[in-house]
């Protein structure tokens, strides 16, 4: 067992880095003021938040007035969808989204569905891409909003925001994207991209948890989710999380400044891991390869064994990953993303996501690969899964259900 922990779950959250922590520190005990107060402490805090807002806005080529701080990307997604739904005219009750969204979008549109909105879920291809033509066909005169995730949290697919956004723009429909995974990793410029709302978050870019932001193009109107004070331009009440916002801004500044070098470093690590692990028989990559994939994400299926067992074994060996298997999900269902890209049950059950940050090293990859070989060997040697009998994959055997039916 290794003493050193290897953290390969950076699409889940990232460790905060020293400069970010340092940027936050003064705002806990010294500059503790409330930005709404009129005295000196208040003004200090207001100025600090203003500077943070300006900096983050600049990083995506937006103006500070277009940015609202929230308690994370989930809140930003909720604010965008519920906020827009509140303002939707009587005859505009149709929302379009994709089948590979994060639950912060998926469950929000489902809730709106229960409240009387029509919802269309766009299919994706085997690599997780939404076809812009499908979007074009799905838009009706009733459509008021399209929301499609930018970088996918499970299989790393980076959607073509320009193509999707232009279709929305041409149809006079608002376009929102959840950029929680892609921010600071994939260039994002609101002047060049036809996009109206973007959700951002901090803890996936080495910033603190519990803070995020919603970009809203000037002129877009949303209702409030909560009632309270006039903070955030009257759209998100509650005293600002000043230390969190300071950390978020610093993390974003560093992330954008280092975008190219970080991507180069992380891609190298990712591809080293992919190359080594795909040498194991009966494995395949999930999601696209190359520059249309998030640098931070690798997702591999190890057939004939189950993801939660793999994950637990790796965890005990000090390697931390995640799985899209049903057994590792609290709801006992495989990830909606893996189902949407067309994986068979057995492929989804054996899927493991390795996700990286700039803090990971090639040496860690080599150690993790060694552990992975051992774990796969151990679990396959005791597997009850007999490919010829149980596999649903063509050529490997008959469908389980069919077989089961015939048996009786």
């Amino acid at each position: 067992m290794e003493d050193k922990k290897i953290y390969f779950d950076n699409n889940d959250t990232t460790p905060m880095v020293e400069p970010v922590f340092n940027a936050m520190k003064p705002y806990f005990m010294e500059n503790f003021g409330n930005p709404a107060s009129l005295h000196e402490y208040g003004l200090e805090a207001e100025e600090a938040v203003g500077k943070a807002r300006e900096d983050i806005a600049n990083l995506i080529n937006a103006t500070p007035e277009e940015l609202i701080f929230t308690g994370g990307a989930t809140e930003a997604n909720n604010l965008a969808l519920f906020g827009l739904a509140r303002m939707a005219p009587e005859k505009k009750r149709h929302i379009i989204t994709s089948k590979v969204e994060h639950h912060a979008i998926l469950n929000t549109v489902k809730r709106l569905g229960k409240e009387g909105f029509k919802v269309t879920f766009l299919e994706v291809d085997r690599e997780g891409f939404v076809d812009p033509d499908d979007l074009k066909k799905a838009i009706t005169p009733e459509t008021f909003l399209v929301t499609v995730v930018h970088g996918n949290h499970v299989v790393g697919t980076v959607q073509d925001l320009n193509a999707l956004g232009q279709i929305c723009r041409d149809s006079g429909v608002l376009f929102h994207t959840d950029a929680a995974q892609s921010f600071t990793k994939v260039p994002l410029n609101v002047k060049d991209t036809p996009i109206d709302l973007i959700s951002l978050n901090s803890h996936k870019i080495h910033g603190p948890k519990g803070v995020g932001a919603l970009y809203m193009r000037k002129g877009v109107k949303i209702g409030r989710l909560m009632e309270g004070g006039p903070q955030e331009n009257n759209r998100r009440p509650g005293t600002e999380n000043v230390p969190g916002i300071m950390g978020f801004a610093e993390a974003a500044r560093i992330g954008i400044a280092q975008q190219e070098e970080n991507n180069q470093h992380i891609c190298k690590i990712r591809d080293r891991l992919l190359d080594r692990l795909l040498e194991i028989p009966h494995t395949h990559i999930n999601g696209p390869q190359g520059d249309k994939r998030l640098s931070t994400n690798a997702n591999i299926t190890f057939l004939y064994i189950e993801g939660e067992a793999i994950l637990m074994h790796l965890s005990m060996r000090g390697v931390f990953v995640s799985s899209g298997s049903a057994c590792s999900s609290i709801a006992l269902q495989p990830s909606n993303v893996l189902t949407a890209i067309g994986l068979k049950h057995e492929e989804a059950h054996g899927s493991i996501r390795f996700s990286f940050s700039k803090l990971n090293t090639e040496e860690e990859v080599d150690i993790a690969v060694g552990h992975m070989h051992a774990v796969v060997d151990q679990l396959r040697s005791m597997s009850a899964f007999i490919p010829e009998e149980h596999s649903e994959i063509e050529g490997k055997g008959t469908t389980f259900y069919k077989k089961k039916k015939d048996e009786f």
């Binding site: 639950h103 998926l106 469950n107 489902k110 569905g113 229960k114 004939y304 064994i305 189950e306 993801g307 939660e308 067992a309 637990m312 074994h313 005990m316 995640s322 899209g324 298997s325 049903a326 057994c327 590792s328 999900s329 609290i330 709801a331 006992l332 269902q333 495989p334 990830s335 909606n336 049950h345 057995e346 059950h349 005791m382 597997s383 009850a384 899964f385 149980h390 596999s391 649903e392 389980f400 259900y401 089961k404 039916k405 009786f408």
Partner: protein, 228 residues
């Protein structure tokens, strides 16, 4: 959500007992399905004079609790008579493991059912039991559904009175499940488990499972969430 396992579960997971299969076994049974990612195959050697289980082994396709519960079930069964093992239940195995999270109770059910299925096979081979002719009626379905566990509570959907309606119409079965206070994210899992359980009946061609949330709003297949 993080899953917290007891020390005993971890021990049986990292060092599972009685793994593999017995060559020329007296009985074999596979329980569960690869579709659910939860499957166990048991092989048995039974002394025909004493009815004592001399040896039992398992192979697993499943998660940590699938492996641990099977391992513990074999440890408990070895050296006992088949009559004693027939009194095993999921709760006993889970307790011996220092408890299981409620979402993992179905693993214990699977392990115990698998073991019992192997015993049944042995009894049939010895002429001590016959293949049961399954009656295609509401009572049979209710009996079968006792093994479906609500992952939210770790209890059977029958004992917790979640099944509000069962109807058999020829080869067509209709089941209505009320989620009540159970989180909707479990709807798809419960639907799958119910469907798969009823599918084992030869006489059934079509199964319709209707799932209602607290407000009696029907949750349609494929439209539900699956929290990660």
């Amino acid at each position: 959500m993080a899953i917290k396992y007891s020390q005993t579960v971890i021990e049986h997971f990292t060092n599972p007992q009685n793994v593999g299969e017995i060559e020329d076994a007296d009985a074999t049974a596979t329980e569960g399905s690869p579709a659910c990612g939860d499957m166990l195959t048991f092989t048995l050697r039974v002394n025909p004079e004493t009815h004592i289980i001399d040896d039992v082994r398992f192979r697993s396709y499943g998660c940590a609790s699938n492996i641990s519960t099977a391992s513990m079930a074999t440890v408990l069964a070895k050296g006992k008579t088949i009559e004693e093992v027939k009194h095993f239940n999921a709760k006993i195995v889970a307790e011996k493991l220092g408890g299981l999270p409620s979402t993992k109770m179905h693993c214990s059910v699977l392990a115990v059912n698998g073991l019992k299925a192997a015993i049944k096979q042995w009894e049939i081979s010895q002429g001590l039991a016959e293949e049961e002719a399954i009656q295609c009626n509401e009572d049979t379905i209710k009996k079968l559904l006792k093994s479906v566990i609500n992952p939210h509570t770790g209890k059977s959907i029958i004992s917790s009175e979640m099944v509000s309606y069962i109807k058999v119409d020829g080869a067509k079965v209709f089941v209505e499940v009320n989620l009540g206070d159970t989180d909707e994210m479990y709807a798809e899992n419960i639907r799958e488990e119910v469907t798969e359980t009823i599918e084992s009946m030869k006489c059934v061609d079509e199964i319709i499972v209707r799932i209602l949330d607290r407000e009696k709003f029907e949750l349609k297949n494929g439209e539900n969430n699956n929290g990660e």
